[in-house]
């Protein structure tokens, strides 16, 4: 497990309404979108509403509902994905505590009838925010 590297240091960005951070795979092998089962993003203890979360990898952006059936796009171990959500963060040079929780399905470890292993990983890192213009 490589959960200590899940949040990429120094990658917190904000457009005022939404915050985003780069996330690394805490596992040794590539997984498809369908195995990225859920995430949470919090900055300074404020959690982004679940429905506002978006996942960007391989230049495509998904809701977590859309990831359920996504077996075409894969998260490669050396790539950063971007997790974003509605949290107002100010790029004021101050340090912010970022927390990411991630649930992954491990598709080859079958642990019961119709059930595969899932792992829950989390990471917390402190960094300043950089301002970006809303897309």
């Amino acid at each position: 497990m490589i959960s200590d590297r899940m949040i990429e240091a120094g990658t917190l960005t904000t457009d005022g309404a939404r915050a985003a951070v780069e996330v690394r795979l805490p596992w040794y092998r590539a997984l498809p979108g369908s195995c990225i089962a859920g995430a949470a993003l919090a900055v300074d203890g404020l959690r982004a509403p679940a429905e506002s979360l978006r996942w960007t990898m391989n230049d495509r952006t998904f809701t977590f509902d859309e990831l359920v059936d996504e077996t075409g796009e894969w998260w490669f171990p050396t790539d950063s994905a971007v997790l974003s959500g509605e949290i107002a963060v100010t790029a004021d040079g101050a340090e912010h505590e970022v927390r990411v929780d991630l649930t992954l399905y491990i598709p080859y470890i079958v642990i019961g009838e119709n059930e595969v292993l899932h792992i829950e990983e989390h990471d917390t890192k402190t960094m300043t925010a950089r301002e970006v213009v809303a897309a």
Binding site: C35, P77, P107, Y108, I109, V110
Partner: protein
């Protein structure tokens, strides 16, 4: 196997260097060159989904580049580790036809990349292995199903596979022996990692006692007993004020440190086509403190095994304070020393390794 002593081929799986690759210290080419330059080969094993972007799709140009690189640096591709991602869809498992096609594409990738063996895993049933045999034969790739803790050679699921192999009679079906099934102690480097996470010596002594008790009892008879042992680790952590460590104790205590005895491997020895030299660390005496590397190499030599041994360092999960490169070099020195002590040697020359691996797999074909 022939009656003579075996000459196992030294090698490594890039999995051992997961943190270096994941941390972008080395890309695939850089890591392969490092393996060659530092003498971790000649055997080279790679996990498809870890190292090849877009796997299992491998285009001819990439395959050509890869094969040229391996030739240039003087390594020998041994096993491509592939995965049966039965749970790739969130709402259902793959159907049998989908699973066979999923595996066929990866076997095709192994052939294109020049790997004579594909390591497959326990989620494949005897029926699946039987169905895959003609596909393996068509691509000329041996399927070596990994026997990994919490299973072990004499586990009912492994014996069922062995019996099916015998019935099917295909030379392209075999096993990968993973040394993690026959461990003799809870890895000290993992205990040190727990200590660094604030676990007390008292708690860690209890973890060691619990594992030693399971070692005395031998490996779990079935999945139910395995589950009970897993639960015992969780309970121990909770009773000692560290419930956060319980699952970790359970996963490692049952899934990495398998308590079968070394001679258990004799149950499947004629079907062993590949070996994962799983290990967790090296102590101040230069020995592996919890994996009986010397006994395992001796067994392989005495049994006439002349396939590859991929050193598979698993300590990277928790050991962030030591270089994996030095630890792996030290473990391979133990293997070489053990082979010599058994009256044989490890093969470290690429040309010789290629010849011997061909014979090892070819011998299997004639068996």
């Amino acid at each position: 196997m022939s009656g003579g002593l075996g000459t196992p081929i030294q090698g490594v799986t890039l999995y051992s260097f997961t943190r270096a690759f994941h941390g972008r210290q080395y890309d695939l080419e850089g890591l392969i060159r490092k393996v060659a330059t530092e003498g971790y080969g000649p055997g080279l094993e790679i996990i498809g989904f870890s190292s090849f972007r877009g796997f299992p799709e491998i285009d001819d140009r990439f395959a050509g580049w890869f094969r040229d690189l391996v030739d240039e640096v003087g390594l020998v591709t041994t096993s491509l580790a592939v995965n049966a991602d039965i749970g790739i869809h969130r709402d259902r498992l793959l159907t049998q036809d989908e699973l066979i096609e999923y595996m066929r594409r990866q076997i095709d990738a192994a052939a294109k990349l020049g790997f004579p063996i594909a390591r497959v895993q326990i989620s494949l049933t005897p029926d699946s292995m039987e169905q895959l045999a003609p596909i393996a034969e068509r691509y000329g790739v041996t399927l070596a199903l990994e026997v990994h803790a919490d299973q072990y050679a004499s586990h009912p699921r492994i014996l069922a596979l062995r019996d099916r192999y015998e019935q099917v009679g295909s030379p392209f079906l075999g096993f990968t022996m993973d040394w993690g099934a026959t461990v003799t102690g809870f890895a000290p480097s993992l205990l040190e990692a727990y200590r660094r996470r604030g676990a007390t010596d008292e708690l860690l002594a209890k973890v060691v006692d619990l594992w030693n008790g399971f070692y005395e009892q031998g490996p779990p008879a079935d999945q139910a007993e395995h589950g009970q042992r897993f639960g015992a680790f969780i309970g121990l952590a909770a009773q000692n004020g560290r419930p956060d460590l319980g699952i970790d104790f359970g996963i490692n205590g049952t899934g990495l440190f398998g308590p079968a005895r070394v001679d258990d491997w004799l149950e499947i020895m004629p079907w062993i086509r590949h070996v994962h030299g799983k290990f967790f660390g090296i102590d101040e005496r230069g020995e592996e403190p919890s994996v009986p590397v010397r006994d395992l190499i001796s067994l392989l030599v005495e049994q006439g095994y002349s396939g590859a041994v991929s050193s598979e360092y698993e300590g990277w999960h928790w050991n962030h304070w030591q270089s994996p490169f030095e630890i792996i070099a030290a473990e391979q020195a133990v293997q070489r020393s053990a082979a010599e002590a058994s009256g044989s040697r490890m093969i470290t020359d690429a040309a010789e390794a290629r010849r011997i691996l061909d014979t090892h797999l070819g011998k299997a074909v004639q068996a």
